[in-house]
């Protein structure tokens, strides 16, 4: 029993230490933002590898998720004779929940794991140390641009996901299943509020982008500099990001949509 408590105490302490390191890391990263503004080229390169390279997976997934929503929604709604509400159902679930959450999960899998592996390998191959010895701060040069790129790309990707999904739902709903096209759009236009739904969805994805990029970069930076250490760090990125995204989504949803 004592042993158990001791272990528990020790592991709690380790996680707090890690959280502390992560926070210090975040502060250093944020402190580097100013230097990025002077050199936007660094950000552009990362926008490319973080944003553009995630573009395809996000749009294709968005299209399919929207089409599935269209199908499933139609079958459920037609039981109640409410097929006309398909538009609002597809749009609300995409804009409020699926857009930000699924995008963030895909982002963690696609870009987050890549970032962790990249940073971890740079650490393992002494590239980060090498930079430090060249009097170049690796956090500013390497981490901050990636962080900013992830943070900026996420809301764009999430908006794309939702938009493509809504169009996918429309393709299935009005093209295949015969829902009235006007009703599809009109229902969502009257029922979705710009501030309550769209902006809140964007806020969600901004927060997810922040957290996912933070986790991915920190896990890479904090990785044990061996192949095994990097592979573990990559796994941790995906797992921790998924947990954080879903947990935060619950909290944010409760805060944003709770009092309606």
């Amino acid at each position: 029993m004592m042993q158990f408590l001791q272990n528990l105490g020790a592991s709690t302490r380790t996680s707090f230490t890690k959280l502390g390191r992560a926070t210090y890391f975040l502060i250093q990263t944020l402190a580097g933002i100013f230097s990025i503004l002077i050199r936007p080229r660094l950000l552009m390169n990362q926008m490319f590898s973080v944003g553009v390279l995630s573009f395809l997976i996000i749009t294709i997934s968005g299209l399919f998720v929207g089409m599935v929503l269209g199908l499933q929604g139609f079958y459920i709604l037609s039981d109640f004779g409410a097929e006309e509400s398909l538009g609002i159902m597809v749009a609300a679930s995409l804009v409020r929940e699926l857009g930000p959450v699924v995008t963030a999960l895909l982002f963690a899998g696609r870009a987050g794991s890549a970032l962790t592996a990249e940073i971890g390998l740079m650490k393992a191959t002494e590239q980060l140390s090498g930079m430090e010895m060249m009097a170049i701060d690796p956090i500013r040069r390497i981490i901050t641009p990636r962080f900013l790129a992830g943070f900026l790309s996420m809301p764009l990707l999430a908006a794309l996901f939702s938009a493509v999904g809504i169009i996918g739902g429309q393709l299935i709903g009005t093209g295949l299943l015969g829902v009235d096209d006007g009703a599809y759009w009109a229902q969502m236009q009257t029922q979705l509020d710009f501030y309550d739904d769209i902006i809140n969805g964007v806020i969600k994805s901004v927060i997810f982008g922040f957290v996912t990029s933070w986790i991915a970069l920190f896990e890479g930076y904090d990785a044990i500099p061996t192949s095994e250490g990097v592979s573990r760090a990559t796994t941790r990125t995906v797992v921790n990001s998924a947990f954080s995204i879903l947990g935060l989504d619950f909290i944010l949803t409760a805060l944003m949509f709770g009092d309606n």
Partner: protein, 161 residues
Amino acid sequence: MQHTATQDTLVGLFVASGIAGLFFLALQVSNLSSFGDKDTYTVTASFESSGGLKVKSAVSAAGVKIGKVTDIRFDPKTYQSVVSMAIESQYNTLPEDTTASIFTAGLLGEQYVNLEPGGSEAVLKNGGKIDLTQSAIILEKVIGQFLFKSAEEKAQGDKKE
């Protein structure tokens, strides 16, 4: 480094399509285009019961949406429900004796306020009050009345025989 130009183009495309997606959501999907921060004026109406009416429910006249409900409160003096509505300024010719009714879209749909213009020369102004109101139809009551009535009729019919 030699890929810079293509890379710039792709990043540009990415950012543009992301922003296009946001615009699409804002304009095509949400109510921003149909009812944003347009100029509105507020009128109130008191109902016996506002039923399932909610803030942001539609206010329409002749089937066209012209505004939305901004506030619903209980008046402790008259025991009525006071509904405030923001109506777009372009529809400023509603007569004073307009009737406000709470209708339901379809059998189980959303409730909304329907305005039926009267014949008065004077028009409603900002802060004006609609006096003629018709409360929400509460389905349970209607069904109750219907059942009661048909039972009564049946009883009468039985007597006649």
